[in-house]
Every structure is written in structure tokens, then in C-alpha cells.
Symmetry: D2
Subunit: 354 residues, 4 copies
């Protein structure tokens, strides 16, 4: 097959850089367009981007000229790393003009005809796209990936929902500074400190999971019927969101059954061997002090969700801790995996393997 042309909008920001890193040498996609705000447009990417990642900037993008964000980009897929407050109209224009927009922004996540997708969790939600195109009259479409904190939670819950049903979920997050982009969190606000507030985050945590764990019902998603309460905090960690979870199931479960549900879970991307899919969707660790962001965030090249500390909860039924890499699985990596799933399902001009 020829590679599928892809572009990134918001390519110079923190999440944009993660997209660059994942797409610079992708087996199915070729990165043809880097677009960003007017301030960057026209400059070589190596100069426009204040590169933040420890790994060096891929050589191949260094001299690429940054384009303006406009619907005429030369690519079939557009990965959107735009901030939520500007993403909406831009993504809409691009989808209307024919692009498949894989968006990390929140603008369309809860729209009834837009898939909010984790390929291991709800690949069948792509079925909404027929409705989306018909209703909106777009030649392209929009597919979204969830909020970084909701991503890890839903990953850990999905095997449990399948096995035992879900009734109530309590979650408290300790989120990494990279989740706020760059410059993002001021060092004076976080060194020797915790900020027990992240604007808009808790409501995302309390709505997105119910959509993702819901059932495709013709032209819409019937949301999963469980209740969820979230507290969100920022801590002085670079990457990796830690979440303390208590959960009540639809039927009783033993610790062994729960661990088995996690360890045995294999998603569609694992079965299809998608390039960005980790070997293990969930890794359940036995140590009493894991997962930890520093030591577990890079599991499965940042695409595995690590769980641990399973123990009874005096209030609901079980407690555990989960860890998810917020800018890989929870942002750029999740979005790229969405596109890979669409690729094998024939949404693009080329189909891998054919």
C-alpha cells in the first residue's frame, strides 16, 4: 500500500509535539502537513516549535515549513491538537471540506453523532459516522478521543463492566503538569504544592465515561447506566495521571475474578495488531505500592494502563489505583490508534495489508 497522508493542526504545542513524535516514522501514515497558528506559519518547524520532549525532535520535520491552519491541507487525515476553545469551528470546517479529523479536543466529544473512541473499548461506536455524515452533510468526519483522565479510567473499567457490570464509581485523580500544555502550569504554582482544581475536568470525568461505556443504538449512544463522582488534582509530576478508584459492580466479584478480568482482556487493536497498540491493554501489577507515574507511565510505550493495589472498599466494593500516560494513551497516542483502527476498517483511500 502507499502510505496515507496525514497532517497535524496545532503541531507546535505540547500535544502537537507528541503527534509529531508518533507520526514521523509511522508504518502506515506519512506526515505531509504541520499546521499551527499564524505566529508559527511560514517558519521551519524546527524553529517554530519550542521542543519540550526529552527525546530529540525527529530530523525529518526540522525543516518542514509550518502551514496556516486551513481546510486545504494536503492530507487525508487531520490530527487535531488544538486547544478546546478554538478547535470547534476549525475542525468542523475541515470535516466539511472532506478531511477525517481525529481530534484530541473536547469540542465534539459529547456530540450525539460523534464517536468518542478508545479502540480497545468501543470500536463499534465508529458506527455513528454514517449518521454524522448524513445529518451534517460533511464529506469528511470527526472522531474524538477522550479527556486524558477519563481515558485511563475507562480503560480500567471496561474489563470490569464486561465481567461484572458497573453501578457506582468514585475517582480522585493526581494529574501530571504536561496535561495542561505549555507553558501551562507555572512552577510557582506546583513546586512543593498540590492544586486541587482543574477547570472543567471533573465534569468531563463524570460524563465521558458513560458515553464510552455505552451501547451503540442505531443513530446514537445509549449511555451506560452507572454513577460517577470525580475529584481532580494537579501534582508535581511530569507525565502520567494517577487515579484512586472505588467501584461497585452489578454483581459480586472476588479479587481473583477482577484480576483475571484485567489480565485476560484483549481489545480489537491487540487482535488486529495495530502499530500503536500495546501488547497489554491493561497491566495489573502485584506490588502493593504500584502503579506509580515515574515507574509505570512508559509501559507499552505509554499505551498500557497499569492497575494495582486492588483491595476491598468499606464503602463501595473494591478500591484500586490506575496509571495512564496522559500525553500518549491519553492524547496523541489515543488519537493515532483511532486512525489506525479506521484504516484497517477501510475508511481511507488505502487499506493496510491490502
Amino acid at each position: 500500500m502507499d502510505k496515507i497522508k496525514v497532517g497535524i493542526i496545532g503541531a507546535t504545542g505540547a500535544v502537537g509535539q507528541r503527534f509529531v513524535q508518533l507520526l514521523a516514522d509511522h508504518p502506515w501514515f506519512v506526515l505531509t502537513e504541520l499546521a499551527a497558528s499564524d505566529r508559527s506559519a511560514g517558519k521551519p518547524y524546527g524553529e517554530a516549535a519550542n521542543w519540550l520532549l526529552p527525546e530529540p525532535m525527529p530530523e525529518s520535520v526540522r525543516s518542514t515549513t509550518v502551514r496556516e491552519i486551513a481546510p486545504n491541507l494536503d492530507c487525508e487525515i487531520v490530527f487535531s491538537a488544538l486547544p478546546g476553545d478554538v478547535a470547534g469551528p476549525v475542525e468542523e470546517a475541515m470535516a466539511a471540506a472532506g478531511s477525517v479529523v481525529c481530534s484530541n479536543a473536547s469540542s465534539f466529544r459529547m456530540a450525539p453523532d460523534v464517536p468518542l473512541l478508545i479502540p480497545e473499548v468501543n470500536p463499534e461506536h465508529l458506527g455513528l459516522l454514517a449518521t454524522q455524515r448524513q445529518r451534517r452533510g460533511w464529506r469528511g468526519c470527526i472522531v474524538t478521543n477522550p479527556n486524558c483522565t477519563a481515558t485511563g479510567l475507562v480503560a480500567a473499567l471496561k474489563p470490569l463492566q464486561d465481567a461484572f457490570g458497573l453501578r457506582r464509581v468514585f475517582v480522585v485523580s493526581m494529574q501530571a503538569i504536561s496535561g495542561a500544555g505549555y507553558p501551562g502550569v507555572a512552577s510557582l504554582d506546583i513546586v512543593d504544592n498540590v492544586i486541587p482544581y482543574i477547570g472543567g475536568e471533573e465534569s468531563k470525568m463524570e460524563t465521558e465515561p458513560r458515553k464510552m461505556l455505552g451501547r451503540l443504538d442505531g443513530d446514537h449512544i445509549a449511555e451506560a447506566d452507572f454513577r460517577i463522582s470525580a475529584h481532580c488534582n494537579r501534582v508535581a509530576v511530569r507525565e502520567g495521571h494517577t487515579e484512586c478508584v472505588s467501584v461497585e459492580f452489578g454483581r459480586k466479584a472476588t479479587a481473583e475474578e477482577i484480576k483475571l478480568a484485567w489480565q485476560g482482556y484483549r481489545g480489537l487493536p491487540q487482535r488486529l495488531g495495530l502499530p500503536t497498540a500495546p501488547e497489554k491493554f491493561i497491566d495489573a501489577r502485584p506490588e502493593q505500592n504500584r502503579p506509580q507515574p515515574l515507574r509505570d507511565r512508559d509501559a507499552g510505550r505509554g499505551m498500557t494502563t497499569t492497575v494495582g493495589r486492588l483491595r476491598p472498599c468499606p464503602l463501595l466494593e473494591w478500591k484500586f489505583v490506575l496509571l495512564s500516560h496522559n500525553t500518549l494513551r491519553g492524547a496523541a497516542g489515543g488519537s493515532v490508534l483511532n486512525a489506525e483502527l479506521m484504516a484497517v476498517q477501510g475508511y481511507f483511500s488505502q487499506r493496510p495489508g491490502s
Copy 2:
């Protein structure tokens, strides 16, 4: 009045240093004895202690010779900053020999005849001392203060229990490194990391509050009848434990009623004007991103518990965040306040004000 002679056992450790700081210039107490392990005994305190606090070591203790820990110390009150695994037998021997032991250790906290005391919360629990002396045949006695994390939780809950009753409490802590003493948490374990586990902490959090919020019933405490679930985490903060709390009351309450309950609460130490008592036991802040450890831990010289972010909880009824200084209110300060309460109630040879 003459000042009451007091001593500290475990005087060179992290909590011991806080005791020294609070007692070096106390209006009612005079610090006559500093005792520590054999390794330190015989040395001047200024040399034996690796002083950890930002404020300088009080001049008055610099040349004091550190004593061995033994029941013959020349003091009426013994403040115990010993680690939980060695405190038990030592404190027992001292109480038997006639000392009033105000202990920060966990050994006796849950003993049925030992008060687990926060003077603003359950001063009447001192009534257990009669039983304690009678049963154990001690000339002295033991009074304990709670675990540092339980302290802040109980402080925030007490006004709510009084006003609305308590049914269920969910709490997730983000605890400061100073809570583990010195050297305590290795920097390689916490820089750019969270540790979602603190040995023994969750069980303390799930038992101590029910005793403290219980009712003195003759010779024992009838524990309060509510359920509590705790997740405990260590974060890269020097001082100040942050706790995310969800709560269900016995009767419905509005946000206004809850804030009023907090703001209007005045404990016995405030009414008595005890020297270490803060003006406000609880400070309810209006900002949406407070409390924060860096900015609120020193409220009321570290003795005020700060609460904030009150909002509805989709699972229980209300959510909020609290912040408590773990080595002041949650350790040495709490213990000194206990002794001050006992002083005005006539437990010692001298009574302040008389």
C-alpha cells in the same frame, strides 16, 4: 503559677524537633528534658539533632544534654515523638511511673481506655482517664493525638456531624513527605512521582475518626456510626496533607448550611484561649482552587484546618477539599494542645490562671 516541667522523648527526630520548637518558649510549660536513643544520649542537643526545620533551632536547647529515654526524667509531662514500633512499652513504663504521657505515636490510640483527643472535637473523652488509671494501676496516664491524616479529616467533619449527622465518608489523601519523618521518603522515590501507598495509613484513617467522633459512655467510647473509605498517597510536598472528601449526611444540607457550620464552629480551646489554639479551628475559603498545601498550611500557625471547593457529589451528597498541617496540627501541635487542655482542667500540679 510556676511553669510545668515537660520533656520530650524522641526529641531529635522530625516530630521531636517540632515539639522543641513549640515548647522552647511556651507560656505554661518549661522544657526540662530532651531524651532520645542511645546514639544521641550524652551529646548536646545542638549536636545530636540534625535540625530539619527552616526556622532556626531555639538557642535555649542548643547546649542541653540529651538524656536516655527512661522513666526517671525530671518532668511532669512527657511528649512522645517516638516511632510507633517502639513507643508502646516505653510510654507504658513512663505512665506507670507517674508521667502524663502526651503521645503522638499510634500504639495506644485505639485502646478502649485511652483518649484519642482533638481538644476542639472531643474534649470530654479525657473522662476515660479515670478508668484508665483504675484499670491499669498507673500513677500517670497516656493521652494520644490522632494520625496526621485522620486529624484534618475529623476537624472538617466534626462541625458537619454536629449539624447534620454523618452516614458515609470517602477520602483520598495526598500526603506530605514530612509525614514519614527523616530521612523518610527517598528523593528517588518522590521527585517526579506519586506513591499511592503508605503502610498502615488507610486502616488508621478508617478507624480513628469513628472513635474520635464517638460518644463517651462511662468507661468507654461508643464509636460513631458511619462508614469511611480511605485511599492514601504520598506526593512531593514538604508539609501539609491535602484530602479530597465526599460525604453523605444524616439529613439533607445546603451549601450555605455547610459553610455556616464550618465558619460558626468554635471549639473549647478557642473559648478557653489555650496558647496553641488557633483563632479559627476551621477556615472555609471561597476560592475555587483552594486549599493548597503551600498557601494554606501555615494558617493559624499551622493549627487551622482549611476547607474549600464545596460542591455537590453525584455519588454521595457533597464534595470538598481539606488541608491540614501534618507536623503541627497533625502531630506536635496537636499533642501540645492536648496538654494545654489538661492543664486548665487541673490535671497537673499547677493550673494556669490560678
Copy 3:
């Protein structure tokens, strides 16, 4: 005496807040004006300022209306906490209109007729003001305090210059994040990192000390004749600049002589008892691992410079480490002390003590 009216320009920023803290309850000065950018003007200070300090905002300023920055402020002294790139014309206009501007900005520091003042070091440089007024035709005047990193260095060097003369100075700084203001350093740039570059800092370090340690010669300063080389770094510390210094003197000195020179140094502010002056201008500590920012920055309420680790240098003659609080002694505190010195020397309508 009546109190002297003072105002702050740039009152809402990080250094502005330190000025507010120091002036809200000053024995000689009354804070009548808080001025800031158009964005803040018209709002109550409590709302306009994102308060960053651990200590609470003084009650007295909470409802003060923030003014626009303009020459008609109702005050005799203007403390300037403006950023260097906008301070120049504003300060000039105010001095021309009659204000005594005590500026923390860099714009005028190296102007030949402007005092660059540390009252313990070069109080006689105020003698430049006669020339300044005459040449510029201003009714008011401008007095500056040095760069925060230069401040600590000059403090430590002054007693040594007096005693032994100075030939060569090598200095490497490890500077606190508060030195960059707010939001200043992004947390993604400094957590688990060092930034070995601070724009413009090294050239300030290599020029300002020679002026401050120079001699007033009629209408100008004859710069001190020694050479200095500086490397400046940013580290993950909240407050307090640490500096490693190697020095060669004009004549040989022993370790004892050097310590004596530091310990025995008493500046004019100490002799005059100025309110903001610390008891000790320099504190020379004996421990081999001090000074440290965490443990020494608050010495003398942030106005003492702490030195330590004096030892021979294989290249120059002696090595030592110094620590100076960068937003107190190195910014707002230094500026307030300058105004206090001017007050007792009769530069204002009221003279303290008369």
C-alpha cells in the same frame, strides 16, 4: 512624625506583592497607592492580584482600588516593581513630576548619575542625587537596588573588599524560580531539570557589583577595579539564590581573618536601626553543608545574607557559598531599606525620629 505616603507601581505582580507585604504595616510609611496595568486598574486589589505568597494578603489592601500607573499618584515615594522592559519611561516621568522613585527595575541601574544602592554597602552613593537632579532637571529622583543575584554577591564581598581588597571573583548562581516573576518559569521547564541560562543575568552580575563596590567621586562612581565572571542557572527552588564563589584578594588573608571580617561587619542600617534592616547583615555559618536556600533564606526576615563553606581555592584563593533571599533582600526588601535610609537622611517631608 506623620507617616510618609508611599505607592507601588506594578503592585499586582510577584515583586509587587512582596512590596505590599512589607509596606502594609510599616512604622514610617503608609501605603496610599497601588497602581498596575490597565487590566487591573479599577478593580479592588484583592481581586486584581493573584496572590502568590504563602502568608495571607494583608487585610488592609484587599479593598483598595488599583490605580492606573500615572505621575499623579498621591504619594511621596513610588516603589517600582515594573518589569525592566517597561520601567524606564514610566519611572522617568514620575521622577520628573516630583516622586522619589525607589526602583527594583534594571533600566537606570547603570546610569552614571543614579545610585545603585545597598544601604549596608554604599550609602554614600546617595550623593549622586544632587548631580542627578541638576543634570536632569527632575523635581524627584530615582534610586535603584541591584539585580537579585548581584545583591547577595556584593553583600558577601563588601566586608572582604574593605579588609583585603578584591582582584578576581568567580561566581556561579543557582537561582530560584520566583526570580522570574509569575507565571515566569513553566513547570515543564524546571521539574527534574536545571536551566543553565537566564537572559541578561550574567552581564548584570559582571557589571553591577563593580559600580556598587566603587567609590563616589564627585559627580560619578569610580568603579571598583576587579574582574568578575558569572554563570547563571535556574533550579527548582521557590525562593533564595545560592551562589558558589571563588575569590582572589588584594592581600593574603587567613580563614580566620575572613570569618572575622564577615562576622564583624556592621552596616549603617544596623547602626541606625532602620526598621527593615536585619540584626546581622552577614551570617557566617560553621556547618559544612550550609547555606541552603530552604534553611537559610528567611534569616533576618529574608534580609540577611548567609555565607559558609569557606575553604581554599586551588585556582584563586578562597571558595565559599552564599545564600540571599531574592524577592526580599534582592528585590522589595532592598528597595524599602533604601527608602528608609533616605528617610533618616532627610530626603522626605517627614524625618523619622524628629
Copy 4:
């Protein structure tokens, strides 16, 4: 060739773990022995070692039984990760019994007949081994790698010494917490702090470079004739030592010549293609704010030394900043590279490539 059997003594500690990581899948060496203190001996490595690295423990060592440290280990090369205070006698016994000991400890570094080796810098110093064996009568031998902070400095200086000669070097380090091992630096000592003291470090920095940059003269090393002064500091960085350097050469050099000397330098390991050798021994970066530990420590898989910020020094001649990974290039990686060099030079029973 068959692989050469190697063992690690001190295998469970922080540096020991880095050795395990580098040797678990080495093309020339097979890891047959993991030895540690009595406390660990007899346990499987997976249980004995508190694994500290972000990358997971290699599966192959998980069940290896940890051996006691004794001269009868079944291996030809012994990598020593022992602490300096116990390494001496143990290493000596092993060398006497026939092992080639590649030691990261300081015990023998300055012994006149022991090579202190960086293969890119002074491979010819292996010539001391003939003298060593003859004098000491050992069947094996000891080869050491330098102190982690001296390693980076010597790497950056070597190309400059070759090109311009060296007269005087001033260096101030900001060292990572991993340099102190585990548990090492207490978090209470380093969060929001700098410690301007590391025991014994400065004297190593002022002696080891002169030996490494010296000339093999028959049976000893004629030390290089330049002077060096070091200040050593600990900062809150996980990995990577940053060093600010000023230097005076034997002859004048331009910035271009210096950059050329760095960029053009190729060591023997690069020419030989040793497995652990980085492509670039030195990487000279053009950005004004690099190198930084977070962003440059992993260059060349932690084996490249990054330099930058070259600019004139008002005191000596040139200033620059360098960054070196302290537990890879500066410890285990350096030691493994030493063994690789010895392998191709025929010191072992097998010679790679033959």
C-alpha cells in the same frame, strides 16, 4: 565467539541495577553472576532488588539467585558497583584470584598502577596493567572508571586539551540525586532546596582529571599540568550532572576552533564500533539554553556528553556548560565500555570479531 562470562558485585544497588540493565542483553558478555551483601544473598534477584529504574527489570535476571560476594564467582569479568568504603579489599581479593575487575568505586582510582579509564580519552593507560600485575602479583587486574562528575568534565576537556592545551579549569557542578545511590538523598533535604556540599566530591574533581588527561610514562602516569578548582552541589534532578566550566588554554582559541574541536573529536571506541559507544562522544548544541539534564541526559543512550553555551569568560578565557548522564556514562556505562575496549584488545579468553 562465545560470550564472555561477567558478574556484578553490589548488584542490587542503584548503580548495580544500571549494570544489570546494560548487561542483560549484551552482544559480547553474558551475565552469569549477581552478587550482593549477605542480606540479599540466596534470594532471587527480582525479590532482593528494590528496582528503581523507570524501565522494567530484565526478565532474564528476575529469578537469578543472588550470590555472596566472594572470589569464586563463575565469571571472567567482575563489574563492581560497591560503595567506596567497602570496595577496596573485596576488589583486591578478586583481582588476586584472577578476575578482571572493572570498578566504579573510588578505592583504586588514584593508585599509580591502576588505569583510570575513559576509552575515548586515555585508552593507552591500559598499558599500566603490565606493571600492575608484575608489582602486585595478581592473576587478574583492576581497571577503574572515574567519578561521575569528573567523567563529564574530562570528556568535554579532552578535545580542547588536544587542540589548545589546558592551563586552568574552574568547574561548578549541579548533581543529580541518583549520584548518591538509594535511598541516598532524603526528599526532605532536596525538595525546594539545593545542598552545596557532597562529601569527598570536590577533591575527586580536582585530582582525577589530571590523571586521566596525563601521559602514560612507562610504569606510571605523568599527570597533566593544569590547575582545577571545583564546587559541587546537589540539586533536585533525577539523572544528569550539569557543570558550569570556565577554562584557560595553553594557546588562544576562537569559538569556531573550539566547536570544531568538539564536533570533530572521535574516540577509539567510535572507530572500533564498541557496542556501548555512542555515535557522538561529544555533542555541541547551538541553543543558548542547553544542555539541560532533562532534555540531554539520554543523548547517545546516556553515553554522549553534551556541551553548549560557549562564550567568553572575563576571568579565564572561555565559559561553557556540560551535561553528562551520571549513572550511565558516569558509572555503569563507563565501566562496561572499559570492558569492551579490553575485549577487543585481547584481555579476555574470547576476542570479539575473531
